[in-house]
């Protein structure tokens, strides 16, 4: 918006290039609102600019790797799996993951040869962030939120997943206070393989955990 302005009257700046050159450079009303709110809160001492930076770093560090480790452990350790299905919070905390983000209940639902689980949030975009990080863009989309509870097989097909007719599909609608995570089935013949088999999408339920090709 302003790259051709004369900046001689200003202090020199180190970064003249945008941090994210991909379309993050339009100053919309909502972006202004974020800047204004953030600046006011910093001035009021609610938090510092460095707290914001550290929070973004923390968000970036919270990836589906956490969920993968939980699932991979459940695959090899029946006792751990039993705890995970009974008290997921405790099972995750025992691997050292902080679950303090929100005071929410986490429920893990297990896929079997006869039951396939998938998660959605029709009311908002509630998601097991403590284990998977920020939700993917499609999870927040109107189409996914509207349709998953109505025609799950059609939606799953759009993700490339076709399930046999004799497999029951269970859709779990999350709320602010109750989040779900899918425990995918371990692909056959993968004993000794790492948690890389466990993808984010397999823990949402729009894909299966698969053997490496």
């Amino acid at each position: 918006m302003s790259e051709h302005h004369d900046h001689d009257h200003e202090a020199p700046r180190r970064h003249r290039h945008p941090l994210q050159p991909d379309a993050d450079d339009t100053l919309t009303y909502h972006r202004k609102l974020e800047i204004a709110v953030r600046e006011l809160l910093i001035e009021k001492g609610i938090f510092t600019a460095d707290d914001v930076r550290a929070a973004i770093e923390e968000l970036d560090g919270r990836t589906p790797d956490r969920g993968s480790r939980v699932v991979a452990r459940a695959w090899v350790d029946p006792e751990y799996k039993a705890l995970l299905l009974k008290d997921a919070r405790k099972a995750c905390e025992s691997l050292g993951f902080d679950m303090d983000l929100f005071d929410v209940t986490l429920t893990v639902v297990e896929n079997t040869p006869k039951v396939h689980n998938v998660i959605v949030c029709t009311l908002c975009s509630c998601y097991p962030r403590m284990l998977l990080g920020l939700p993917p863009s499609w999870y927040k989309s109107r189409a996914y939120r509207s349709r998953m509870v109505k025609e799950p097989r059609v939606v799953l097909k759009e993700f490339g997943l076709e399930l046999p007719e004799d497999v029951t599909v269970r859709v779990h609608d999350s709320t602010a206070d109750l989040r779900y995570l899918v425990l995918p089935m371990r692909p056959e013949g993968t004993a000794g393989m790492s948690d890389r088999l466990v993808t984010r999408d397999s823990m949402i339920g729009v894909a299966l955990a698969q053997r490496p090709r």
Partner: protein, 102 residues
């Protein structure tokens, strides 16, 4: 009557499965929410209530991050953490900046 945010079972077009990574400003919105929750300024249910009170028009014409930043600012005003005057003065001041993007 169900709320405008309650989308379950509505008809909608195909799902755009191609992913868009969150931009820096979108992550900042998440960071604000996380910090305000941790500091005890906002509760998760207050955030939800604010999202459900934006009105159908604002809700459906905004992106996820846009909805969330509106909900945050509405809540902060409602709770007296910031005032409408302060906010509008700051927005006007940002407009006058030569290079307003942080």
């Amino acid at each position: 009557m169900k709320g405008y945010h309650d989308l379950g079972g509505e008809s909608a077009g195909p799902i755009e499965t191609k992913e868009k990574e969150p931009t820096l400003w979108e992550k900042r919105v998440e960071a604000l929410l996380m910090l305000l929750t941790r500091r005890g300024v906002l509760k998760v249910d207050e955030n939800r209530r604010a999202l459900e009170s934006l009105g159908a028009d604002a809700y459906h014409n905004a992106t996820y991050a846009e909805r969330r930043v509106m909900a945050i600012s509405n809540n902060l005003i409602l709770k007296g953490v910031i005032s409408v005057d302060e906010l509008s003065a700051r927005l006007a001041e940002i407009d006058r900046r030569a290079d307003p993007l942080p």
